[in-house]
Amino acid sequence: MAFVQNFPFFSIILTIFSGPLSTMLSNKKAKIWNMILIGIVCALNLAVLAFVISTGESYTYMMGHFPAPWGNEIRVGVLEALMAVFFCVVMFLCVISGGQERAREIEESKQNLFYVMVNLLLCSLIALVYTNDIFTAYVFVEINTLSACGLIMIKNKLHEGRTLEASVRYMIMSLLGSGMLLLGICFLYGLTGHLLMSNMQEAIANLVATGQYQIPLLVAICLLSVGLAIKSALFPFHSWVPDAYGYATLSSASILSSMVSKGYIFLLIKIFFRVIGFEVIIGSHVLNVLFIFGIIGMIMGSLDAIQENSIRRMIAYSSVAQIGYIYMGLGLGTTAGVVASIYHILSHAVTKALLFVSAYGLTNVSNNRRDFKQLTGAAYRNKLAGVAFTVGALSMVGFPLLSGFVSKVLFAQAAVGVSSTKMFFTLVALAISTILNTVYFMKTVIRIYTPMDAETEKEKGFTRITAKEDMGKAIAMICFVVMNLVLGVLSQPIIELIETGLAMFM
């Protein structure tokens, strides 16, 4: 066994133990340690990715000394490694981007606790990605939820009440979701007698072949899908999103929007492919339900966003719409659709984080007021943020050369391959949603590029800042923009990776 194969486990262990460590460090040291840690984890996962690509096949990694079907396992394939690397990178950028806000908004004494949450979150994400054991997955889902909740509620001087309320709402929704998830897992366990994904799949294939327990199986599938859908804020379970994303501190908001919900979706995809089998899922028609809600979400999210008067809440609503895209892709029920969804996970993560970071950059120079009126001319006050926001917005709109375009193409192509009703709805929904996206994003772009005359600016006490004054954000924005372009222009290798990864799932 190659040494590299240990790395996934190492990264989980490293992150989980760095949590307690961070509590003991001072704020500054905690920050530096976290940066290093994420860097290391990223490097480890990169090595894993390279290894898996070079061998061309996935491997399972036994935890402890019990072999399957009893022990706990980690499974590593191309897709898992890719997601892990990706999450690390985005996490890194999200954390460095929010330094100023954290210093300003979070109480001095609680700042290092933020890093604990980040550690736990990263740990749970990586574990979710790699695990081969469904109950382990459940446990890490809960850890994920708890740490995300921590990120939202962390003592925020500006909006304490809001964040508290938001985190309660978030928790309640999540608990509903995890309750259903757990029930689903119990059902499956009861049906199959296994917890390891590969074994479960065999058992289920057996069940399907013999025609036994069809109804419980269907119930289990429903419970799992709905549970994870609730947790990932699929319409209509999105009521917590705008508050949570809109009032949490910058890093939290970008982390939550770009990764937490994506982790759940990835888990769902994994369950579909690795536990239940995609054929069975397609046969169960659960996908149709997801598809419908995905489409409604796409439209409703955008409509809400249009009415929104605060830039952050607008971006949050846009997330709801984008989650809708992903579920719509899943709902198409083809591999191409799933590839598109996964690609959109990447593209949306990059774009949404970019939007949050740049939106903060813009509100920072507008007295932290986020209603649109105050944002007039913000792009001149913070030029980099203006450009970055524009890029993000264009990507959301599906402008060619940016990542959003490629995922749109992939969705549409996937849609053309399926039955005509679904295809029709998908294409029309894509078109309408594009228009709606245009409406609210480009409205904002135009707004921030409309100059405010110097006097009013002075009167309101708006400042101008350059990129150097907030290096963290500058670096993050530049990196996100570059990633966006890379995803938009050089999509081929990434799509291929996703496809091989999915093939390994089968």
Binding site: L394, V397, G398, F399, P400, L401, V406, K408, V409, A412, Q413, A415, V416, G417, S420, L427, V428, L430, A431, I432, T434, I435, T438, V439, M442, K443, I446, Y449, T450, P451, V489, S491, Q492, I495
Partner: protein, 491 residues
């Protein structure tokens, strides 16, 4: 290696355009030379390319294995390249004088130049995806040009433009995807890329998709009911309205419609279906509607914009006839209308620039003060009306010829619409002329003191355009032959 010239032509204005705000040229004049230089070099290269007619393709980059951005020059593309390459340097020259007193000149010229490159990109695109990419880019790079003055009106107009354009593109996108998935190849092929025998069971669906796609692209061409944005966008500086909203942007829409109809879905698929009927009805309605609105409109540039709406639908009418002759007519009008409309817009711009008037009723007596401008305006008006001997007549002739060869009742209705629109054109163009030259006996000319003809930078383009209008009108055969050659490839 001759195909290398294609990316150069496209990228040169884009890359050098980006440098305009940053070049360390102090004097205004030097900057002017720099801008004009870029445009001229590009135009010359473009024309060289047209003469050279490279046949090979050039791939700029790949999205995926089968999705890429690549260039190839073909007949229809040549036409569009030709229009852009010939009009842009003149328009730039005009813009120098017009923009004299405006702010943010470097930014303006930056986007102005980039737009040139992007338009050429549309013309040279080899496949529908590349075209779509440049098409979207065009929307974006023209955005700052419309919003230039940053007034409330301009912002409103820009938003409208943006929503309409991107909304249209979103529906056009559906068609793009279908072509990518079902087409034998994504590259433009005369007669379409769909294998109708193999796709026999999908005909209905493909027709629907064609309809959506055509509607999508026709947003830029301001087909009813997607036409409101064009007059609103008239708030932009005149060189922009003239060049972009009479030539590049709207013609890009028409060009895209031609591509989609004749080179992607193919006339064979759509001909005789409900899609053709519905589209044709819309187009015919637009032809008349645009003119009627032009008559009602008193703002001079918006009036011309409505006239553009109507005239663009002439082109679409040719396109939707789905016959080679129809394509000939469409291409004719595409070329000729570019010249005519850019002239009238430039005149309007010169008038607005020199006299700071915006409304038609304020133009009384101006003809005496700006005789050259108004004479040119009148000539362009006559051409638009389709007086024989001017280019407008030739394109009308070609379109009517195509429609009557087709012979269906709708096509004949289209011809009637053309003529009604010509009459309405006479009304809204000639009233201005007559009132400008004959304001009434007691007109007090002292009101117009200080109003005079513009300088050579504006007059030179005028002169050239007038010559062009007459030459095209009197000797249209070479053009028609050229277009016929293109269209014959469809047979």
């Amino acid at each position: 290696m001759s195909e290398m010239i294609m990316p150069i032509v496209v990228l040169l204005p884009i890359v050098f355009g980006l440098t305009i705000p940053f070049v360390p040229l102090k004097s205004k004049k030097a900057k002017m030379f720099y801008v004009e230089g870029i445009v001229l070099v590009t135009s010359i290269l473009a024309i060289l390319m047209l003469l050279n007619q490279p046949t090979a393709e050039f791939t700029l980059f790949r999205f995926t294995d089968y999705l890429n951005v690549s260039f190839r020059l073909d007949g229809v593309g040549s036409v569009f390249v030709g229009i852009c390459a010939l009009l842009w340097p003149l328009a730039t020259l005009y813009a120098f004088e017009y923009m004299e007193h405006e702010e943010h000149q470097p930014t303006f010229f930056m986007f102005y130049t980039i737009t040139f490159g992007v338009s050429l990109g549309i013309a040279l695109s080899q496949d529908i995806l590349s075209m779509y990419v440049f098409y979207e880019l065009l929307t974006m790079v023209t955005l700052p040009l419309i919003i230039h003055s940053l007034s409330r009106e301009a912002i409103h107009a820009t938003r409208k433009y943006l929503y309409y354009s991107l909304g249209g593109a979103a529906f056009a996108f559906i068609g793009v995807i279908f072509i990518l998935v079902y087409g034998d190849t994504a590259n433009f092929t005369a007669g379409g890329v769909l294998d109708l025998v193999a796709l026999a069971d999908k005909k209905e669906l493909l027709t629907l998709v064609f309809f959506l796609c055509f509607c999508g692209f026709s947003v830029k061409t301001a087909m009813f009911p997607f036409c409101e944005w064009l007059p609103t966008a008239g708030v932009a500086p005149t060189p922009v309205t003239a060049l972009l909203h009479a030539v590049a942007v709207v013609k890009a829409g028409a060009f895209a419609c031609i591509r989609v109809t004749y080179y992607c879905f193919g006339p064979e698929l759509v001909k005789g279906t409900w899609a053709q009927t519905v589209l044709m009805c819309l187009i015919i309605f637009t032809i008349v509607y645009g003119c009627s609105r032009a008559i009602k409109e008193t703002h001079i540039k918006r009036r011309l914009a409505w006239s553009t709406v109507s005239n663009l639908s002439y082109i679409l009418f040719g396109v939707i006839l789905m016959t080679p002759l129809g394509l000939v007519g469409a291409l004719c009008h595409m070329c000729f209308h570019a010249v005519m409309k850019i002239t009238s817009f430039f005149c309007a711009g010169a008038i607005m620039h020199k006299s700071h008037t915006n409304y038609v009723h304020e133009l009384d007596g101006m003809g005496r003060k700006m005789p050259f401008t108004f004479i040119v305006y009148t000539i362009s008006g006559l051409a638009l009306m389709g007086v024989p001997g001017m280019c407008g007549f030739m394109s009308k002739w070609a379109l009517a010829d195509a429609a009557l060869t087709d012979g269906s009742p709708l096509a004949i209705a289209g011809v009637v619409a053309l003529l009604i629109s010509a009459l309405l054109t006479a009304i809204y163009m000639m009233t201005v002329t007559v009132r400008a030259f004959f304001p009434g006996k007691d007109f007090d000319y002292s009101k117009l003191d200080g109003v005079k003809d513009p300088t050579w930078m504006m007059l030179l383009p005028f002169g050239l355009f007038v010559i062009a209008m007459i030459v095209f009108g009197v000797n249209a055969q070479p053009f028609v032959d050229f277009f016929t050659n293109i269209a014959m490839a469809l047979m």
